[in-house]
């Protein structure tokens, strides 16, 4: 069924009896050409692009819970492509371009809102660094604009520009950045993939891999053994736990990242703002809640909940740039699990086991990457060659000294 304005009116006039489920509740078959492990945004996008762009069939997505129940439903919904390094920026710009056409492509309202993102500048050195980053973005076909303090004030008059400790000296804006309704991304990809024949199998946890003479031939699941031509892991947050079943150790630690939503407020924050002197980012959802977050807690965790010191740190960051935040009450807070990699950048690559592929290590930047991650992973699965924008996301970059370390922190995952 195609969604359209006409369809909405027709259903309204006929008692809404014509809407069907957006995707089938598929049961696992004995064998597939492609088995994708993980029914999050990246896994569902991979299945969709495999079917649509690469003409592949017999694809299954295995999800241990329900689709969209992991990190795609637990993030702060920001999209942007304001990276600097060659290995990253073309990939994230590719992702942003896919976001721009996503809703027409999927025939699904994912509420892509290019309301702009603004990185605040607090010192001369930071302005220099942001100019450099802005130029790198422009060289890669993205948009970037350096704003003066006055231009920032015109847009966000409530900002505390004269703060004694962290005065605001301008900002780097990416006007094409913004937010997306995160759950709708999972649902939209699921529906579009299902329409192209992909089996989305929920409540189906992978418990082991079938590996014979260095080749992965299938997976063992809670719903039986499924043979597969190619097996694609796509479970960021739980990558180490899954790949351990294939005997692999990863350049990844799992960390918890907290996020927060205030009570619903009238519109106050038209775009996305990030604090440059600490770690704080904030946008306002269409329901009115201020959605914000900051640093990861900083220690290995699989708990999906964090601790209070980071709550304090994040709120201090918010109060430093817009003190009116102190009047808002916190409605909800939660934690999600991050694959923190050794250089802060992801991995989309083959493994040393034939037929077993890996996508993970997204740190806390996976949501914005969803379309490009799916596209690049589908490209790798279908052609056995990396997508041109994702050639740097290799396992062997650590051994070869080709880290993609945006922050220059070295092999310390909790600092990325």
């Amino acid at each position: 069924m195609r969604y359209s304005g006409f369809r909405v009116i027709k259903e309204a006039l006929t008692g809404h009896r014509g809407w069907g489920p957006a995707w089938r509740d598929a049961a696992p078959q004995d064998a597939y050409d492609y088995v994708i492990i993980g029914g999050g945004g990246h896994g569902l996008a991979t299945a969709y692009y495999l079917a649509k762009e690469f003409g592949q069939a017999r694809i299954a997505v295995l999800e241990k819970g329900w689709i969209g129940g992991g990190n795609v439903g637990r993030n702060t919904t920001i999209i942007r492509s304001n990276y600097m390094l060659d290995g990253n920026e073309p990939f994230y710009e590719f992702s942003l371009k896919l976001w721009e056409g996503l809703e027409q492509d999927l025939n699904y309202n994912a509420m892509v809102s290019q309301r702009g993102i603004l990185n605040l500048i607090h010192s001369d050195a930071q302005r220099d660094a942001f100019i450099r980053r802005g130029n790198a973005m422009i060289l890669n076909g993205a948009d970037a604009e350096l704003l003066s303090t006055e231009q920032v004030m015109a847009r966000y008059p409530f900002l505390n520009v004269n703060d004694a400790r962290f005065p605001i000296k301008g900002g780097l804006a990416q006007h094409r950045g913004g937010t997306v309704r995160h759950d709708a991304v999972a649902w939209g990809y699921a529906r579009a993939a299902d329409q192209r024949g992909v089996d989305i199998i929920q409540n189906c946890e992978v418990t082991g891999f079938r590996i014979e003479r260095g080749r992965c031939t299938g997976v063992e699941t809670t719903r039986g053994v499924i043979d597969a031509g190619k097996v694609a892991a796509c479970v960021a947050g739980a990558s180490s736990r899954l790949m351990e079943k294939a005997g692999m150790r990863l350049p990844i630690e799992s960390h918890v990242l907290q996020a927060f939503v205030s009570e619903g407020l009238k519109p106050v924050l038209p775009g996305v703002i990030t604090f440059g002197a600490g770690h704080f980012y904030c946008s306002q959802s269409d329901k009115g809640g201020l959605v914000f977050g900051g640093d990861i807690d900083g220690y290995n965790s699989y708990a999906q909940r964090g601790n209070l010191p980071v709550v304090e740190d994040v709120c201090e960051g918010g109060m430093a740039i817009f003190p009116m935040l102190g009047r808002a009450r916190l409605l909800r807070m939660w934690g999600g699990l991050m694959d923190m990699s050794m250089d802060g950048s992801p991995i989309i690559d083959r493994t040393h086991i034939d037929g077993l592929y890996f996508n993970g290590g997204w740190c806390y930047g996976g949501f914005k990457a969803t379309p490009a991650s799916g596209f690049a992973y589908a490209h790798l699965l279908a052609t056995d060659r990396p997508h041109p924008t994702a050639t740097a996301y290799r396992f062997d970059r650590f051994a070869k000294g080709r880290m993609i370390d945006e922050k220059g922190m070295g092999n310390q995952p909790n600092l990325h």
Binding site: S240, R241, R249, L250, P251, I252, E253, S254, G298, Y299, N300, S301, Y302, A303, N307, P309, M342, F398, A399, N411, Q412, P413, N414
Partner: protein, 95 residues
């Protein structure tokens, strides 16, 4: 989280800096056969278990000692805290 420091008693985890897996105590011998592979493993690969994890914490805003904390990564419960110095000696480092 509270870390029960062996010398100072219970301290707020916010006073500490987290380093990572306590296996990092065992830095490979750079002169040994296969040292390159061993250092790539040491520098970049982690067990990253869900459950009991032995890990290094540095008491930066305290007595600046290194601790080995045994903690459950699923519940955050801390079951054991030792001075990293004692652990390293017991495991044959720094003789």
């Amino acid at each position: 989280m509270l870390i029960d420091h062996p010398l100072l008693g219970p301290r707020d985890a916010a006073e500490f800096v987290y380093k990572g897996d306590a296996a990092l105590i065992h830095r490979p011998d750079g002169a040994a056969e296969g040292a390159l592979e061993a250092f790539i493993d040491y520098g970049y690969l982690r067990d990253n278990p869900a459950g009991t994890h032995r890990e290094l914490w540095f008491h930066e805003q305290g007595d600046r000692s290194w601790l080995v904390v045994t903690r459950d990564t699923v519940t955050h419960e801390i079951s054991r805290v030792e001075l990293a110095r004692d652990v390293a000696r017991r495991e044959g480092r720094s003789k």
